[in-house]
Symmetry: C2
Subunit: 314 residues, 2 copies
Amino acid sequence: MAEAERSTLAEVGEIAVLSRIFPRLPESDAALLGPGDDAAVMAAPDGRYVVTTDLLVHGPDFRWEFSTPEDLGWKAAATNLSDVAAMGARPTALVVALAAPATTPVAVLESLADGLRLACDELAPGCGVVGGDLSTSDVFTIAVTAFGDLEGRPPVRRSGARPGDVVAVAGELGPAARGLRLLFEHGRDEALRRDAHAVGRQLRPAPPIALGTAAADAGATAMLDLSDGLLLDARRLAQASAVDLELDALGDDELRGGEDHSLLATFPPDAALPAGFRAIGRAVAGSGRVLVAGREFAGLGGWDPYEDWDGRLS
Amino acid sequence: MAEAERSTLAEVGEIAVLSRIFPRLPESDAALLGPGDDAAVMAAPDGRYVVTTDLLVHGPDFRWEFSTPEDLGWKAAATNLSDVAAMGARPTALVVALAAPATTPVAVLESLADGLRLACDELAPGCGVVGGDLSTSDVFTIAVTAFGDLEGRPPVRRSGARPGDVVAVAGELGPAARGLRLLFEHGRDEALRRDAHAVGRQLRPAPPIALGTAAADAGATAMLDLSDGLLLDARRLAQASAVDLELDALGDDELRGGEDHSLLATFPPDAALPAGFRAIGRAVAGSGRVLVAGREFAGLGGWDPYEDWDGRLS
Protein backbone atom coordinates (compact mmCIF):
# COMPACT_ATOMS: atom_id res chain seq x y z
CA MET A 1 0.00 0.00 0.00
CA ALA A 2 1.36 3.41 -0.91
CA GLU A 3 2.15 5.75 1.98
CA ALA A 4 -0.48 8.26 0.90
CA GLU A 5 -3.22 5.62 0.96
CA ARG A 6 -2.50 4.56 4.51
CA SER A 7 -5.02 6.29 6.66
CA THR A 8 -6.12 4.06 9.54
CA LEU A 9 -4.24 3.34 12.76
CA ALA A 10 -3.70 -0.29 11.70
CA GLU A 11 -2.25 0.78 8.34
CA VAL A 12 -0.03 3.56 9.65
CA GLY A 13 1.30 1.93 12.85
CA GLU A 14 1.83 3.36 16.32
CA ILE A 15 5.13 5.16 15.77
CA ALA A 16 3.99 6.96 12.63
CA VAL A 17 0.67 7.83 14.27
CA LEU A 18 2.50 9.42 17.19
CA SER A 19 4.73 11.40 14.86
CA ARG A 20 1.62 12.84 13.20
CA ILE A 21 -0.11 13.68 16.48
CA PHE A 22 2.70 15.16 18.53
CA PRO A 23 3.20 18.35 16.49
CA ARG A 24 -0.48 19.22 17.00
CA LEU A 25 -0.45 18.88 20.78
CA PRO A 26 -0.06 21.87 23.08
CA GLU A 27 3.28 22.25 24.86
CA SER A 28 3.57 22.62 28.60
CA ASP A 29 5.54 25.52 30.04
CA ALA A 30 6.23 23.36 33.11
CA ALA A 31 7.79 20.41 31.21
CA LEU A 32 11.48 19.95 31.95
CA LEU A 33 11.44 16.86 29.71
CA GLY A 34 8.47 16.30 27.42
CA PRO A 35 7.17 13.29 25.46
CA GLY A 36 9.53 10.74 23.92
CA ASP A 37 11.22 9.04 26.85
CA ASP A 38 9.89 6.48 29.36
CA ALA A 39 8.42 9.33 31.38
CA ALA A 40 8.18 13.11 31.38
CA VAL A 41 9.87 15.29 33.99
CA MET A 42 7.82 18.19 35.30
CA ALA A 43 8.68 21.26 37.35
CA ALA A 44 6.98 21.59 40.74
CA PRO A 45 8.39 24.91 41.92
CA ASP A 46 6.67 24.97 45.31
CA GLY A 47 7.50 21.34 46.08
CA ARG A 48 3.98 20.02 45.44
CA TYR A 49 1.74 19.16 42.52
CA VAL A 50 -1.95 18.51 42.05
CA VAL A 51 -3.14 15.44 40.10
CA THR A 52 -6.53 14.18 38.87
CA THR A 53 -7.69 11.63 36.30
CA ASP A 54 -10.88 11.19 34.24
CA LEU A 55 -12.01 8.69 31.66
CA LEU A 56 -14.28 9.34 28.67
CA VAL A 57 -15.79 6.19 27.16
CA HIS A 58 -17.79 6.05 23.95
CA GLY A 59 -21.39 5.40 24.98
CA PRO A 60 -21.80 6.62 28.53
CA ASP A 61 -19.50 9.65 28.23
CA PHE A 62 -19.66 10.73 24.59
CA ARG A 63 -21.04 9.63 21.20
CA TRP A 64 -19.64 10.11 17.72
CA GLU A 65 -23.17 10.89 16.52
CA PHE A 66 -23.01 14.02 18.68
CA SER A 67 -19.32 14.91 19.12
CA THR A 68 -16.66 15.61 16.52
CA PRO A 69 -13.15 14.35 17.38
CA GLU A 70 -12.19 17.97 18.07
CA ASP A 71 -15.14 18.28 20.49
CA LEU A 72 -13.95 15.14 22.28
CA GLY A 73 -10.38 16.41 22.62
CA TRP A 74 -11.71 19.69 23.98
CA LYS A 75 -14.02 17.97 26.48
CA ALA A 76 -11.35 15.52 27.67
CA ALA A 77 -9.05 18.44 28.44
CA ALA A 78 -11.70 20.77 29.89
CA THR A 79 -13.19 18.29 32.35
CA ASN A 80 -9.76 17.51 33.80
CA LEU A 81 -8.57 21.13 33.86
CA SER A 82 -11.67 21.91 35.86
CA ASP A 83 -10.76 19.42 38.60
CA VAL A 84 -7.33 21.03 38.89
CA ALA A 85 -8.84 24.52 39.08
CA ALA A 86 -11.25 23.37 41.80
CA MET A 87 -8.28 22.76 44.12
CA GLY A 88 -7.13 26.37 43.68
CA ALA A 89 -4.34 25.34 41.31
CA ARG A 90 -3.18 26.49 37.89
CA PRO A 91 -3.27 23.61 35.34
CA THR A 92 0.19 22.86 33.97
CA ALA A 93 0.05 19.62 32.00
CA LEU A 94 -1.91 16.60 30.79
CA VAL A 95 -1.04 13.04 29.88
CA VAL A 96 -3.44 11.30 27.50
CA ALA A 97 -3.98 7.53 27.14
CA LEU A 98 -6.13 6.54 24.20
CA ALA A 99 -7.62 3.26 23.00
CA ALA A 100 -9.24 3.31 19.57
CA PRO A 101 -10.46 0.73 17.06
CA ALA A 102 -7.66 -0.21 14.65
CA THR A 103 -9.89 0.98 11.79
CA THR A 104 -9.95 4.55 13.18
CA PRO A 105 -8.66 7.06 10.62
CA VAL A 106 -5.49 8.79 11.81
CA ALA A 107 -7.28 12.04 10.96
CA VAL A 108 -9.61 11.39 13.91
CA LEU A 109 -6.67 11.39 16.33
CA GLU A 110 -5.22 14.47 14.64
CA SER A 111 -8.49 16.33 15.19
CA LEU A 112 -8.67 15.07 18.75
CA ALA A 113 -5.18 16.49 19.30
CA ASP A 114 -6.40 19.79 17.86
CA GLY A 115 -9.26 19.79 20.37
CA LEU A 116 -6.85 19.20 23.25
CA ARG A 117 -4.74 22.11 22.01
CA LEU A 118 -7.67 24.47 21.51
CA ALA A 119 -8.99 23.79 25.01
CA CYS A 120 -5.59 24.28 26.65
CA ASP A 121 -4.90 27.46 24.67
CA GLU A 122 -8.32 28.90 25.51
CA LEU A 123 -8.87 27.71 29.08
CA ALA A 124 -5.38 27.24 30.54
CA PRO A 125 -2.63 28.87 28.46
CA GLY A 126 0.75 27.28 29.14
CA CYS A 127 -0.80 23.89 29.91
CA GLY A 128 0.21 21.14 27.48
CA VAL A 129 0.43 17.43 26.83
CA VAL A 130 3.60 15.84 28.23
CA GLY A 131 2.98 12.16 27.58
CA GLY A 132 0.57 9.50 26.48
CA ASP A 133 -0.14 5.97 25.36
CA LEU A 134 -1.98 4.38 22.45
CA SER A 135 -3.75 1.04 22.38
CA THR A 136 -6.56 -0.64 20.46
CA SER A 137 -10.10 -1.26 21.64
CA ASP A 138 -13.49 -1.79 20.03
CA VAL A 139 -14.71 0.98 22.35
CA PHE A 140 -13.08 4.39 21.82
CA THR A 141 -11.72 5.40 25.23
CA ILE A 142 -9.67 8.38 26.35
CA ALA A 143 -8.11 8.70 29.81
CA VAL A 144 -6.65 12.07 30.74
CA THR A 145 -4.59 12.79 33.83
CA ALA A 146 -4.08 16.49 34.62
CA PHE A 147 -1.55 18.29 36.78
CA GLY A 148 -1.52 21.65 38.48
CA ASP A 149 0.63 24.07 40.41
CA LEU A 150 -0.70 25.48 43.68
CA GLU A 151 1.88 28.30 43.47
CA GLY A 152 2.28 28.36 47.23
CA ARG A 153 -1.43 28.31 48.06
CA PRO A 154 -2.96 25.77 50.42
CA PRO A 155 -5.26 23.45 48.41
CA VAL A 156 -8.96 24.36 48.61
CA ARG A 157 -10.70 21.18 49.76
CA ARG A 158 -14.35 20.24 49.95
CA SER A 159 -14.26 20.08 53.70
CA GLY A 160 -13.50 23.66 54.73
CA ALA A 161 -16.92 25.37 54.59
CA ARG A 162 -18.02 26.95 57.87
CA PRO A 163 -21.40 28.16 59.13
CA GLY A 164 -21.90 31.71 57.92
CA ASP A 165 -19.92 31.27 54.71
CA VAL A 166 -21.35 32.55 51.45
CA VAL A 167 -22.06 29.88 48.83
CA ALA A 168 -21.13 31.07 45.35
CA VAL A 169 -20.91 29.75 41.81
CA ALA A 170 -18.71 30.69 38.85
CA GLY A 171 -19.91 29.59 35.44
CA GLU A 172 -23.28 28.56 34.13
CA LEU A 173 -25.74 26.09 35.62
CA GLY A 174 -27.83 23.89 33.37
CA PRO A 175 -26.91 24.39 29.73
CA ALA A 176 -24.81 21.22 29.35
CA ALA A 177 -27.65 18.98 30.51
CA ARG A 178 -30.15 20.89 28.36
CA GLY A 179 -27.81 20.43 25.41
CA LEU A 180 -27.56 16.68 26.04
CA ARG A 181 -31.35 16.38 26.15
CA LEU A 182 -31.62 18.20 22.83
CA LEU A 183 -28.97 15.97 21.27
CA PHE A 184 -30.84 12.82 22.33
CA GLU A 185 -34.19 14.20 21.20
CA HIS A 186 -33.21 15.77 17.88
CA GLY A 187 -29.71 14.73 16.85
CA ARG A 188 -26.77 17.08 16.45
CA ASP A 189 -27.87 19.29 13.56
CA GLU A 190 -31.38 20.06 14.79
CA ALA A 191 -30.21 20.37 18.40
CA LEU A 192 -27.66 22.98 17.35
CA ARG A 193 -30.38 24.87 15.45
CA ARG A 194 -32.62 24.88 18.52
CA ASP A 195 -30.06 25.92 21.13
CA ALA A 196 -26.50 26.25 19.88
CA HIS A 197 -25.33 27.62 23.21
CA ALA A 198 -26.60 24.71 25.32
CA VAL A 199 -25.39 22.10 22.83
CA GLY A 200 -22.04 23.87 22.62
CA ARG A 201 -21.68 23.73 26.41
CA GLN A 202 -22.42 19.99 26.39
CA LEU A 203 -19.92 19.24 23.63
CA ARG A 204 -17.27 21.79 24.66
CA PRO A 205 -17.64 22.68 28.33
CA ALA A 206 -16.23 26.09 29.25
CA PRO A 207 -15.17 25.79 32.89
CA PRO A 208 -13.94 29.06 34.47
CA ILE A 209 -10.44 27.69 34.99
CA ALA A 210 -8.75 30.96 35.94
CA LEU A 211 -11.34 31.55 38.66
CA GLY A 212 -10.05 28.55 40.60
CA THR A 213 -6.88 30.35 41.66
CA ALA A 214 -8.85 33.60 42.02
CA ALA A 215 -11.21 31.92 44.48
CA ALA A 216 -8.31 30.50 46.46
CA ASP A 217 -6.64 33.92 46.57
CA ALA A 218 -9.92 35.47 47.77
CA GLY A 219 -9.99 33.07 50.72
CA ALA A 220 -12.38 30.35 49.49
CA THR A 221 -12.92 27.90 52.36
CA ALA A 222 -14.15 25.01 50.18
CA MET A 223 -14.53 24.41 46.45
CA LEU A 224 -15.45 21.74 43.95
CA ASP A 225 -16.08 21.20 40.28
CA LEU A 226 -19.77 20.87 39.36
CA SER A 227 -19.68 17.76 37.22
CA ASP A 228 -22.69 15.80 38.46
CA GLY A 229 -25.20 18.59 39.08
CA LEU A 230 -25.45 21.32 41.73
CA LEU A 231 -27.63 19.33 44.15
CA LEU A 232 -25.42 16.26 44.18
CA ASP A 233 -22.14 18.16 44.27
CA ALA A 234 -23.39 20.67 46.87
CA ARG A 235 -24.34 17.72 49.05
CA ARG A 236 -20.78 16.38 48.71
CA LEU A 237 -19.38 19.71 49.86
CA ALA A 238 -21.95 19.94 52.68
CA GLN A 239 -21.17 16.44 53.90
CA ALA A 240 -17.40 16.85 53.67
CA SER A 241 -17.68 20.13 55.60
CA ALA A 242 -20.38 18.93 58.04
CA VAL A 243 -22.57 21.97 57.39
CA ASP A 244 -25.94 22.50 55.72
CA LEU A 245 -26.08 24.58 52.56
CA GLU A 246 -29.12 26.83 52.11
CA LEU A 247 -29.46 27.64 48.43
CA ASP A 248 -31.68 30.27 46.81
CA ALA A 249 -34.64 29.20 44.66
CA LEU A 250 -33.17 27.88 41.41
CA GLY A 251 -34.67 26.14 38.39
CA ASP A 252 -34.64 22.40 37.96
CA ASP A 253 -31.99 22.52 35.21
CA GLU A 254 -29.77 24.66 37.41
CA LEU A 255 -30.18 22.31 40.35
CA ARG A 256 -29.87 18.96 38.62
CA GLY A 257 -28.05 19.53 35.34
CA GLY A 258 -24.60 17.96 35.26
CA GLU A 259 -21.47 18.46 33.16
CA ASP A 260 -21.30 22.25 33.25
CA HIS A 261 -18.00 22.05 35.15
CA SER A 262 -18.71 25.35 36.85
CA LEU A 263 -17.10 26.00 40.24
CA LEU A 264 -18.99 25.83 43.52
CA ALA A 265 -17.18 27.54 46.39
CA THR A 266 -17.76 28.91 49.85
CA PHE A 267 -16.26 32.18 51.08
CA PRO A 268 -16.06 33.80 54.51
CA PRO A 269 -18.97 36.22 55.00
CA ASP A 270 -16.68 39.27 54.79
CA ALA A 271 -14.75 38.15 51.70
CA ALA A 272 -15.12 40.06 48.44
CA LEU A 273 -16.27 37.52 45.85
CA PRO A 274 -13.90 37.45 42.86
CA ALA A 275 -15.43 38.82 39.65
CA GLY A 276 -17.18 35.92 37.96
CA PHE A 277 -18.60 34.41 41.17
CA ARG A 278 -22.21 35.07 42.22
CA ALA A 279 -23.72 34.25 45.61
CA ILE A 280 -26.41 31.56 45.57
CA GLY A 281 -26.83 30.85 49.26
CA ARG A 282 -25.05 30.34 52.55
CA ALA A 283 -23.66 27.65 54.82
CA VAL A 284 -25.30 27.11 58.21
CA ALA A 285 -24.65 24.77 61.11
CA GLY A 286 -25.96 21.37 60.11
CA SER A 287 -25.20 17.85 59.07
CA GLY A 288 -24.53 17.70 55.34
CA ARG A 289 -27.98 18.62 53.98
CA VAL A 290 -28.79 20.84 51.00
CA LEU A 291 -31.90 23.01 51.26
CA VAL A 292 -33.32 24.93 48.30
CA ALA A 293 -35.56 27.86 49.16
CA GLY A 294 -35.93 26.31 52.62
CA ARG A 295 -36.87 22.82 51.42
CA GLU A 296 -34.60 19.79 51.75
CA PHE A 297 -33.96 17.75 48.65
CA ALA A 298 -33.71 14.07 49.45
CA GLY A 299 -32.96 12.73 45.98
CA LEU A 300 -29.50 13.37 44.70
CA GLY A 301 -30.49 14.18 41.13
CA GLY A 302 -27.03 13.38 39.86
CA TRP A 303 -25.45 10.96 37.47
CA ASP A 304 -24.04 7.57 38.40
CA PRO A 305 -22.50 5.90 35.36
CA TYR A 306 -23.21 2.41 36.67
CA GLU A 307 -26.78 2.99 37.76
CA ASP A 308 -27.96 5.33 35.04
CA TRP A 309 -26.30 3.93 31.96
CA ASP A 310 -28.45 1.19 30.49
CA GLY A 311 -26.35 0.57 27.40
CA ARG A 312 -29.32 0.99 25.08
CA LEU A 313 -28.75 4.55 23.94
CA SER A 314 -26.09 4.03 21.35
CA MET B 1 -32.78 -6.16 46.13
CA ALA B 2 -31.17 -6.83 49.51
CA GLU B 3 -27.77 -5.23 50.09
CA ALA B 4 -26.04 -8.61 50.40
CA GLU B 5 -27.35 -9.73 47.00
CA ARG B 6 -26.02 -6.70 45.19
CA SER B 7 -22.80 -7.78 43.60
CA THR B 8 -22.31 -6.10 40.22
CA LEU B 9 -21.19 -2.54 39.55
CA ALA B 10 -24.64 -1.66 38.19
CA GLU B 11 -26.37 -2.97 41.30
CA VAL B 12 -24.01 -1.45 43.84
CA GLY B 13 -23.41 1.99 42.27
CA GLU B 14 -20.25 4.04 41.89
CA ILE B 15 -20.03 5.52 45.37
CA ALA B 16 -20.50 2.20 47.16
CA VAL B 17 -18.04 0.52 44.78
CA LEU B 18 -15.42 3.12 45.61
CA SER B 19 -15.99 2.71 49.34
CA ARG B 20 -15.31 -1.02 48.96
CA ILE B 21 -12.19 -0.54 46.83
CA PHE B 22 -10.41 2.29 48.61
CA PRO B 23 -9.53 0.40 51.82
CA ARG B 24 -7.72 -2.25 49.72
CA LEU B 25 -5.53 0.20 47.80
CA PRO B 26 -1.95 0.94 48.82
CA GLU B 27 -1.28 4.33 50.42
CA SER B 28 1.35 6.71 49.11
CA ASP B 29 3.94 8.09 51.49
CA ALA B 30 4.19 11.15 49.23
CA ALA B 31 0.48 12.07 49.31
CA LEU B 32 -0.21 15.35 51.07
CA LEU B 33 -3.90 14.94 50.19
CA GLY B 34 -5.12 11.55 48.97
CA PRO B 35 -8.30 10.37 47.21
CA GLY B 36 -11.68 11.95 47.89
CA ASP B 37 -11.39 15.52 46.60
CA ASP B 38 -11.32 16.89 43.03
CA ALA B 39 -7.61 16.13 42.87
CA ALA B 40 -4.81 14.76 45.03
CA VAL B 41 -1.92 16.89 46.26
CA MET B 42 1.51 15.28 46.09
CA ALA B 43 4.86 16.18 47.60
CA ALA B 44 7.69 16.91 45.14
CA PRO B 45 10.54 17.58 47.55
CA ASP B 46 13.18 18.36 44.91
CA GLY B 47 10.85 20.60 42.90
CA ARG B 48 10.28 18.09 40.09
CA TYR B 49 8.26 14.94 39.45
CA VAL B 50 8.32 12.19 36.87
CA VAL B 51 5.10 11.10 35.12
CA THR B 52 4.15 8.30 32.73
CA THR B 53 0.89 6.69 31.60
CA ASP B 54 -0.06 3.25 30.22
CA LEU B 55 -3.29 1.66 29.14
CA LEU B 56 -4.25 -2.02 29.43
CA VAL B 57 -7.18 -3.04 27.22
CA HIS B 58 -8.91 -6.41 27.31
CA GLY B 59 -7.90 -8.20 24.12
CA PRO B 60 -4.62 -6.71 22.97
CA ASP B 61 -3.13 -6.18 26.44
CA PHE B 62 -4.66 -8.88 28.67
CA ARG B 63 -7.35 -11.59 28.64
CA TRP B 64 -9.57 -12.85 31.44
CA GLU B 65 -8.98 -16.40 30.18
CA PHE B 66 -5.33 -15.94 31.18
CA SER B 67 -5.24 -13.27 33.92
CA THR B 68 -7.02 -13.15 37.25
CA PRO B 69 -8.16 -9.66 38.38
CA GLU B 70 -5.30 -9.68 40.88
CA ASP B 71 -2.85 -10.46 38.05
CA LEU B 72 -4.24 -7.50 36.10
CA GLY B 73 -3.89 -5.10 39.02
CA TRP B 74 -0.32 -6.27 39.53
CA LYS B 75 0.56 -5.89 35.85
CA ALA B 76 -1.04 -2.45 35.54
CA ALA B 77 1.06 -1.24 38.46
CA ALA B 78 4.29 -3.02 37.51
CA THR B 79 4.42 -1.81 33.90
CA ASN B 80 4.02 1.81 34.99
CA LEU B 81 6.41 1.57 37.93
CA SER B 82 8.98 0.28 35.47
CA ASP B 83 8.74 3.39 33.30
CA VAL B 84 9.32 5.57 36.37
CA ALA B 85 12.33 3.48 37.42
CA ALA B 86 13.79 3.73 33.91
CA MET B 87 14.20 7.50 34.42
CA GLY B 88 16.28 6.91 37.56
CA ALA B 89 13.37 7.84 39.83
CA ARG B 90 11.71 6.22 42.83
CA PRO B 91 7.99 5.53 42.19
CA THR B 92 5.78 7.44 44.61
CA ALA B 93 2.17 7.16 43.44
CA LEU B 94 -0.37 5.95 40.89
CA VAL B 95 -3.76 7.17 39.70
CA VAL B 96 -6.03 4.53 38.17
CA ALA B 97 -8.87 5.10 35.70
CA LEU B 98 -11.02 2.07 35.05
CA ALA B 99 -13.84 1.28 32.64
CA ALA B 100 -15.66 -2.00 33.19
CA PRO B 101 -18.89 -3.60 31.97
CA ALA B 102 -21.77 -2.74 34.32
CA THR B 103 -22.25 -6.48 34.90
CA THR B 104 -18.74 -6.81 36.39
CA PRO B 105 -18.85 -8.22 39.93
CA VAL B 106 -17.55 -5.74 42.49
CA ALA B 107 -15.32 -8.59 43.70
CA VAL B 108 -13.36 -8.26 40.44
CA LEU B 109 -12.46 -4.65 41.25
CA GLU B 110 -11.64 -5.60 44.84
CA SER B 111 -9.19 -8.26 43.61
CA LEU B 112 -7.76 -5.81 41.09
CA ALA B 113 -7.16 -3.37 43.95
CA ASP B 114 -5.42 -6.19 45.85
CA GLY B 115 -3.15 -6.73 42.84
CA LEU B 116 -2.24 -3.04 42.72
CA ARG B 117 -1.42 -3.17 46.44
CA LEU B 118 0.64 -6.37 46.20
CA ALA B 119 2.71 -4.97 43.32
CA CYS B 120 3.37 -1.65 45.08
CA ASP B 121 4.24 -3.37 48.36
CA GLU B 122 6.60 -5.81 46.65
CA LEU B 123 8.17 -3.66 43.92
CA ALA B 124 7.99 -0.09 45.23
CA PRO B 125 7.21 0.15 48.95
CA GLY B 126 5.72 3.52 49.88
CA CYS B 127 4.10 3.93 46.46
CA GLY B 128 0.31 4.06 46.55
CA VAL B 129 -2.87 4.99 44.72
CA VAL B 130 -3.85 8.64 45.18
CA GLY B 131 -6.80 8.97 42.83
CA GLY B 132 -8.91 7.38 40.16
CA ASP B 133 -12.03 7.31 38.05
CA LEU B 134 -14.66 4.71 37.23
CA SER B 135 -16.72 4.44 34.08
CA THR B 136 -18.55 1.75 32.13
CA SER B 137 -17.45 0.09 28.90
CA ASP B 138 -18.12 -3.18 27.13
CA VAL B 139 -14.32 -3.52 26.96
CA PHE B 140 -12.55 -3.76 30.32
CA THR B 141 -9.92 -1.01 30.26
CA ILE B 142 -7.49 0.23 32.89
CA ALA B 143 -5.37 3.37 32.51
CA VAL B 144 -2.63 3.92 35.09
CA THR B 145 -0.57 7.07 35.46
CA ALA B 146 2.51 6.76 37.66
CA PHE B 147 4.66 9.35 39.43
CA GLY B 148 8.20 9.32 40.71
CA ASP B 149 10.72 11.30 42.69
CA LEU B 150 14.17 11.88 41.19
CA GLU B 151 15.50 12.73 44.66
CA GLY B 152 17.89 15.28 43.24
CA ARG B 153 19.24 13.11 40.42
CA PRO B 154 19.25 14.25 36.81
CA PRO B 155 16.81 12.08 34.82
CA VAL B 156 18.43 9.24 32.88
CA ARG B 157 17.26 9.70 29.30
CA ARG B 158 17.52 7.45 26.27
CA SER B 159 19.81 9.83 24.52
CA GLY B 160 22.92 9.89 26.71
CA ALA B 161 24.84 6.78 25.58
CA ARG B 162 28.38 7.50 24.32
CA PRO B 163 30.80 5.39 22.30
CA GLY B 164 32.75 3.16 24.68
CA ASP B 165 29.87 2.79 27.18
CA VAL B 166 29.04 -0.65 28.50
CA VAL B 167 25.54 -1.91 27.63
CA ALA B 168 23.94 -3.72 30.55
CA VAL B 169 20.64 -5.30 31.51
CA ALA B 170 18.93 -5.78 34.85
CA GLY B 171 16.19 -8.40 34.99
CA GLU B 172 15.33 -11.32 32.78
CA LEU B 173 15.04 -11.41 28.98
CA GLY B 174 12.47 -13.62 27.33
CA PRO B 175 10.27 -15.35 29.89
CA ALA B 176 7.24 -13.02 29.52
CA ALA B 177 7.00 -13.67 25.77
CA ARG B 178 7.56 -17.41 26.28
CA GLY B 179 4.79 -17.36 28.86
CA LEU B 180 2.41 -15.62 26.47
CA ARG B 181 3.13 -18.20 23.78
CA LEU B 182 2.36 -21.00 26.21
CA LEU B 183 -0.87 -19.31 27.30
CA PHE B 184 -2.07 -19.03 23.69
CA GLU B 185 -1.04 -22.58 22.86
CA HIS B 186 -2.26 -24.40 25.95
CA GLY B 187 -4.47 -22.17 28.08
CA ARG B 188 -3.68 -21.01 31.61
CA ASP B 189 -3.71 -24.27 33.55
CA GLU B 190 -1.56 -26.31 31.17
CA ALA B 191 0.74 -23.35 30.47
CA LEU B 192 1.39 -22.97 34.20
CA ARG B 193 2.16 -26.71 34.44
CA ARG B 194 4.66 -26.47 31.58
CA ASP B 195 6.52 -23.33 32.71
CA ALA B 196 5.15 -21.64 35.79
CA HIS B 197 8.04 -19.18 35.86
CA ALA B 198 7.56 -17.88 32.31
CA VAL B 199 3.77 -17.68 32.64
CA GLY B 200 4.16 -15.94 35.98
CA ARG B 201 6.43 -13.33 34.40
CA GLN B 202 3.86 -12.69 31.65
CA LEU B 203 0.98 -12.32 34.09
CA ARG B 204 2.89 -10.58 36.89
CA PRO B 205 6.02 -8.89 35.51
CA ALA B 206 8.77 -8.39 38.09
CA PRO B 207 10.68 -5.31 36.90
CA PRO B 208 13.78 -4.50 38.96
CA ILE B 209 12.35 -1.20 40.18
CA ALA B 210 14.97 -0.43 42.82
CA LEU B 211 17.75 -0.83 40.25
CA GLY B 212 16.53 2.24 38.38
CA THR B 213 17.81 4.62 41.04
CA ALA B 214 20.85 2.36 41.60
CA ALA B 215 21.75 2.69 37.90
CA ALA B 216 21.35 6.46 38.02
CA ASP B 217 23.53 6.66 41.13
CA ALA B 218 26.17 4.51 39.41
CA GLY B 219 26.36 7.01 36.54
CA ALA B 220 24.12 5.39 33.90
CA THR B 221 24.33 7.54 30.75
CA ALA B 222 21.09 6.21 29.19
CA MET B 223 18.32 3.86 30.29
CA LEU B 224 14.96 2.53 29.21
CA ASP B 225 12.33 0.00 30.15
CA LEU B 226 12.32 -3.14 27.97
CA SER B 227 8.64 -3.40 27.12
CA ASP B 228 8.71 -4.20 23.41
CA GLY B 229 11.71 -6.54 23.21
CA LEU B 230 15.45 -5.97 23.48
CA LEU B 231 16.08 -5.45 19.74
CA LEU B 232 13.36 -2.84 19.31
CA ASP B 233 14.07 -1.01 22.55
CA ALA B 234 17.86 -1.13 22.07
CA ARG B 235 17.33 0.45 18.67
CA ARG B 236 15.34 3.23 20.31
CA LEU B 237 18.21 3.90 22.72
CA ALA B 238 20.79 3.69 19.90
CA GLN B 239 18.84 6.10 17.71
CA ALA B 240 18.16 8.58 20.52
CA SER B 241 21.86 8.52 21.45
CA ALA B 242 23.16 8.41 17.85
CA VAL B 243 25.46 5.46 18.57
CA ASP B 244 25.51 1.83 17.47
CA LEU B 245 25.01 -0.87 20.09
CA GLU B 246 27.04 -4.06 19.69
CA LEU B 247 25.32 -6.81 21.64
CA ASP B 248 26.68 -10.25 22.55
CA ALA B 249 25.18 -13.36 20.97
CA LEU B 250 21.78 -13.84 22.59
CA GLY B 251 18.90 -16.22 21.97
CA ASP B 252 15.88 -15.28 19.89
CA ASP B 253 13.58 -15.07 22.95
CA GLU B 254 16.07 -12.81 24.69
CA LEU B 255 16.37 -10.57 21.65
CA ARG B 256 12.73 -10.34 20.60
CA GLY B 257 10.62 -11.17 23.64
CA GLY B 258 8.64 -8.23 24.94
CA GLU B 259 6.93 -7.40 28.24
CA ASP B 260 9.71 -8.41 30.63
CA HIS B 261 10.06 -4.79 31.77
CA SER B 262 13.72 -5.32 32.53
CA LEU B 263 16.04 -2.30 32.43
CA LEU B 264 18.47 -1.61 29.59
CA ALA B 265 21.16 0.91 30.49
CA THR B 266 24.55 2.15 29.37
CA PHE B 267 27.37 2.97 31.76
CA PRO B 268 30.74 4.68 31.30
CA PRO B 269 33.46 2.09 30.66
CA ASP B 270 35.03 2.67 34.07
CA ALA B 271 31.77 2.55 36.08
CA ALA B 272 31.15 -0.31 38.49
CA LEU B 273 27.86 -1.92 37.40
CA PRO B 274 25.35 -2.00 40.25
CA ALA B 275 24.62 -5.50 41.57
CA GLY B 276 21.80 -6.89 39.44
CA PHE B 277 23.10 -5.50 36.13
CA ARG B 278 25.06 -7.68 33.70
CA ALA B 279 27.02 -6.44 30.69
CA ILE B 280 25.63 -7.59 27.32
CA GLY B 281 27.59 -5.40 24.92
CA ARG B 282 28.96 -1.97 24.27
CA ALA B 283 28.16 1.29 22.50
CA VAL B 284 30.33 2.34 19.55
CA ALA B 285 30.37 5.33 17.23
CA GLY B 286 27.53 4.84 14.78
CA SER B 287 24.13 5.86 13.61
CA GLY B 288 21.48 4.11 15.65
CA ARG B 289 22.02 0.52 14.59
CA VAL B 290 21.88 -2.59 16.77
CA LEU B 291 24.34 -5.39 15.95
CA VAL B 292 24.12 -8.82 17.55
CA ALA B 293 27.33 -10.86 17.48
CA GLY B 294 28.50 -8.52 14.72
CA ARG B 295 25.43 -8.83 12.51
CA GLU B 296 22.91 -6.02 12.02
CA PHE B 297 19.28 -6.80 12.59
CA ALA B 298 17.06 -4.98 10.16
CA GLY B 299 13.65 -6.12 11.43
CA LEU B 300 12.52 -4.58 14.65
CA GLY B 301 11.04 -7.75 16.11
CA GLY B 302 8.85 -5.79 18.46
CA TRP B 303 5.20 -5.29 19.14
CA ASP B 304 3.02 -2.60 17.57
CA PRO B 305 -0.51 -2.83 18.94
CA TYR B 306 -2.04 -1.42 15.77
CA GLU B 307 -0.10 -3.54 13.30
CA ASP B 308 0.08 -6.79 15.20
CA TRP B 309 -3.32 -6.99 16.81
CA ASP B 310 -5.79 -8.52 14.40
CA GLY B 311 -8.70 -8.71 16.80
CA ARG B 312 -9.23 -12.43 16.20
CA LEU B 313 -7.46 -13.81 19.23
CA SER B 314 -10.10 -13.35 21.84
